[in-house]
Every structure is written in C-alpha cells, then in structure tokens.
C-alpha cells in the first residue's frame, strides 16, 4: 500500500502528484507575497533612515555638536544646548516616572490581585487603575502637553521649565513603564515565588530578592523605551518647556530639546541642512537606544536559559 503511494507520488499523471503540485504552488505564491511585503518594508525603512543620515551627516561635525544654536531666523549655530537640555529632561523625567511606574506595576501585579479577591472596593479601584493605564497609553501626546501646561506651567506656577516638562513627560511615559514592568513581573515564574515562600521568606523578601532581580531586564527595557519616547517627543514639551536655546542651569529654567529644535528649524528657518543634521543625530540616538534594548533582552533570554 505504502509502496503504491510512493510510486503514484512519483508518477506525473497520478492524482496525488497533481494535488501535491497545486498545494506546493499555492504555498510558493503566498510565501512570495509575504517576502515581497517584508522587502518593501525594509527598503522604505532604509530609505528614510539612510536619507536622513546621509543628508544630515553633511551638517554634523564637532563644531555643530559643541556650539549652541544662535537663534533667530537664520538657524545658524549648532545643537550643544539642545543636547544638554534633552539629557537633563530624560534624567529628570525618569527620576519621576520610574519609581512611580515600577511601584504601581508591582502593586498591581504582586499585591493588587490578592486584595481584589477579598475586597470589592479594591477590586473596583484596581480595575479603574488598569483601565486608566490602558487609556493613558493611547492618548495623543498633545493632551499630556495641554494638561501639563494647565496644571504645572500655570496653576502650580512652575512656568516653562525643565520641572514642568519632566512632570508632563512623566505622565506621558508612565503607561509604558507600568505596562513593561507588569509584563516583566508576569514572566517571572510562580515557581520562584512559591519556592521562596516555602523557605520561610516573607512576601517582601520574595519580591525584592527573587522576583525583582528576575524582572530587572524587562523593567530596564521599559525604561529605555521611555528614553526613546522622551527624546522624540515634541508636542508635550512644546507647551511646557518653552523654547529657549540657552543651556538650562536649574530645573526651573526652560529650554529646547533636540526634537523641539528640529521642529523650530524646520518651521521657522531656512536652515534645512541644520534641520537634517539635527534629525540625523536624533535618528542615530534612537538606533543606539534600540540596539541597547536588544542587548538587554538577549541578556534576559540568556538568564532564563540559565547562563552564568
């Protein structure tokens, strides 16, 4: 019987042979379509990134990176103060958002579920918190900007400042940090928690000696993603940071991030080359950030597999 089948597969007139040919052809057609989709995506990406880096690369030199923008309509000068402002803003925003976001995620995943089971009030609060996180993640960033302007800049009278901007920026990246931390905690096997509790560890010891160390690479991924988000954000900082091209000397000073500077250059000046140069610096920074996410997640995988 088997022998007969094999013979008929080889025989070009048999039904099995024709059927197989049809199935293989249809597979090849579908794979070709998907391959083409992948290829087009790749080409578009390379074109955008390549164009910006090649065009912008001409404007990038040591002087460009180390002199402040001169301001005005000419767009003369470099980007040094905007690099500095971006760095300050990233650090300040993360200092605010990371403890809040990581803490909230730990509560929602490690403690909230338990309390939700015993108390209907807690259950409702936690459901609202989760819904809020999801909603915040989908809100256009200019809304965070308007909110930040209304609350921090005017109501609290913090003015256009690094402080106002980083508070508004923290609202923007909180959902990212909460979500990625939650996911990192959920990937920590319950076996670890049970193993630790069974040894006489308290819940807190279990959390900070076993669960958190195992979740750290995932949490770091969330933080790095947030760095990228802050670096590339314009809408929020447009209305909270002011637009001063000077180097901020305190958190109450305003400033201009790289992305904002790019926006000003493109909208208000004729310095297209400088805009491209600034864009190239931004793109390179984002590429470096994504590379570092890859490195972190590779380490995570190695850790799960049990490398040293």
């Amino acid at each position: 019987m088997i022998n007969q089948n094999i013979q008929s597969i080889q025989h070009k007139d048999s039904d099995i042979f024709r059927n197989l040919k049809v199935r293989n052809t249809s597979q090849n057609i579908w794979f070709s379509i998907m391959w083409l989709a992948g290829l087009i995506t790749l080409i578009v990406l390379l074109l955008v990134v390549g164009y910006v880096i090649i065009q912008g690369g001409k404007a990038i030199n040591w002087e460009f990176l180390t002199t402040p923008p001169r301001g005005g309509l000419s767009g003369e000068g470099g980007i040094s103060t905007t690099l500095g402002t971006t760095l300050f803003l990233v650090v300040l925003t993360l200092l605010i958002a990371t403890p809040l976001g990581v803490g909230a995620a730990i509560y929602l995943i490690e403690y909230g579920g338990e309390q939700a089971l015993t108390s209907p009030v807690m259950r409702a609060l936690i459901a609202i918190a989760n819904f809020a996180v999801e909603t915040l993640a989908g809100i256009p960033s200019i809304i965070f900007g308007l909110f930040g302007y209304a609350l921090f800049v005017s109501a609290l009278q913090l003015g256009w400042s690094l402080l106002s901007a980083s508070l508004a920026g923290a609202c923007l990246v909180l959902p990212t940090i909460i979500r990625t931390t939650e996911e990192a905690l959920l990937t920590v096997p319950d076996d670890y928690r049970r193993g630790s509790l069974a040894l006489g560890a308290t819940k807190w010891q279990t959390l900070h000696k076993v669960v958190l160390p195992a979740a750290v690479p995932g949490i770091i991924t969330g933080i790095i993603l947030s760095v990228g988000r802050i670096i590339s954000e314009t809408a929020v900082f447009f209305v909270t940071l002011g637009g001063s091209a000077r180097m901020p000397t305190s958190i109450m000073d305003g400033g201009r991030t790289l992305a904002l500077h790019l926006y000003y250059l493109a909208m208000d000046t004729n310095a297209f080359d400088k805009a491209m140069g600034t864009g190239a610096v931004l793109v390179i920074m984002i590429i470096l950030i994504n590379l570092s996410i890859n490195i972190v997640s590779n380490r995570l995988t190695a850790k799960i597999r049990g490398g040293k």
């Binding site: 076996d191 193993g195 040894l199 006489g200 560890a201 308290t202 076993v210 049990g306």
Partner: protein
Amino acid sequence: MNTKLETIDYNLYYGNFHALADISVKFPEKQVTALIGPSGSGKSTFLRTFNRMNDLIAGTKYTGEVLIDGIDLFKIDPVALRQNIGMVFQKPNPFPKSIFENVAYGPRVTGMHDHKKLEEIVESSLRSAALWDEVKDDLGKSGLALSGGQQQRLCIARALAVHPTVILMDEPAASLDPIATLKIEDLIHSLSVNYTIVIVTHNMQQAGRVSDYTAFFYTDETRTGRLIEFGETQTIFTNPKDKRTEDYITGRFG
C-alpha cells in the same frame, strides 16, 4: 513512635468547593509517608496544608485541627512554620542565582549573614543532598545550568539549609529520567534518618520503594478528596483492607 504531624477531622474548602473531607491521620516522626491516589484526590492539596501554602489561594477555609508536635499549626506564623517544614516541588525550581546563592537563600532571608557560617551550611546541605561532589568546584555557576535531576537535588539542599524537621515532597521525581529518579529515591531514604518526610507520588513502585507508611486518597464524582486507608506500606501493598485501595494498587484504575 512519636507523632510528628497529625490532622483531626480536617476539612478544606476552596470557596464553596469541598476539597478535602474528614481527614484524621497521624504521620510518625522520622519516617517516610507516601500519599498515593488518583489525580484530583486531594493528595497535593493535603500536602500543602502542612506548610500552609494553601493559604496563598484566596478563599480557602478549613475546619478541624492540624497539629505539628502537638501544637496547632494554624496558630504558628506561616513564615516561621515554613522554616520548620521544607518543601520540594514537582518541577525543580531553583532560583536564577548561583548554586551557592540558591542554598544560602533560606539562611540569608532568616537572618544569617556570617559568610563563613553560610559556607558551612551550603557545603553540609549540598552533601546531605548528595550533590556536593558534582558541584563543589562550580558553586558560582547558575543553578539553572544544572541537569533536571541535579536541579531537584539542589532544591532539596536549599530546603535542608534552613534546618527543617519535616520535608514535604510533591511528586519530586515526576519530571526526571529513571536514573535521576533513583538518585532522588536513595536520597529520600538517607534523609529519613533525620527528617520526617511526606511524599506525594503517582508511581506505585516508588511509593513501595521509598515509604514506611502509605496513605491512600480517593475521590468520587463529588470530587471531594478523602483518606481511604492509612498504614504501614508493607500492609497497604500486600493486604489492603479496602477494595478501592486494592483496585488502585493492583492497577485496575487510576
């Protein structure tokens, strides 16, 4: 022989579900007791009663008494209780830490920080778990890099490091190959000199090989687990009193 663990008319409920019914039994000290029975008969749930891991599941209620050394187990703080009653799980679950840190974990969380003493505890625990010779030159290696059988012995060493008097084992060899299983069984034998061991197993031969006493659990369509018969393993296996025990042991069901 002293009684180490005892339950009197013990009932356990998950919400409205009656998981265990009217269990009265005494486990003797420094003996191995096997809990056998078909899936869903409540063996593992009963095992988790003794280190109060069932408490972690919301909505559990119990009636009756559970005693350790004659003391009401539910009056003891669960964190303190679990230092006295170690547990080995079905799937080896070493922490993603070095071999040394895995074993030192229990002593560390219970307040030991003297490195010299920790080293002694790690060595003696690994020796007792018959793992020392295989890992002594590699204590810095990740516990997860060990083979499954070694990982399970590491988990046993980790449990021994807090100096418990009782070790609960929930199908400790279920995920291991026959050779690794044999090593675990030898280990259970040698540990029973110093520890009271309660082991859940699906493997009849294993129960026969490792245990001094056997408790047979069974359930019917109500899905409530009941203790059908308890006695010396020899007696249960050769001369069971209950028809259901006999049917299960001879492999007629389960």
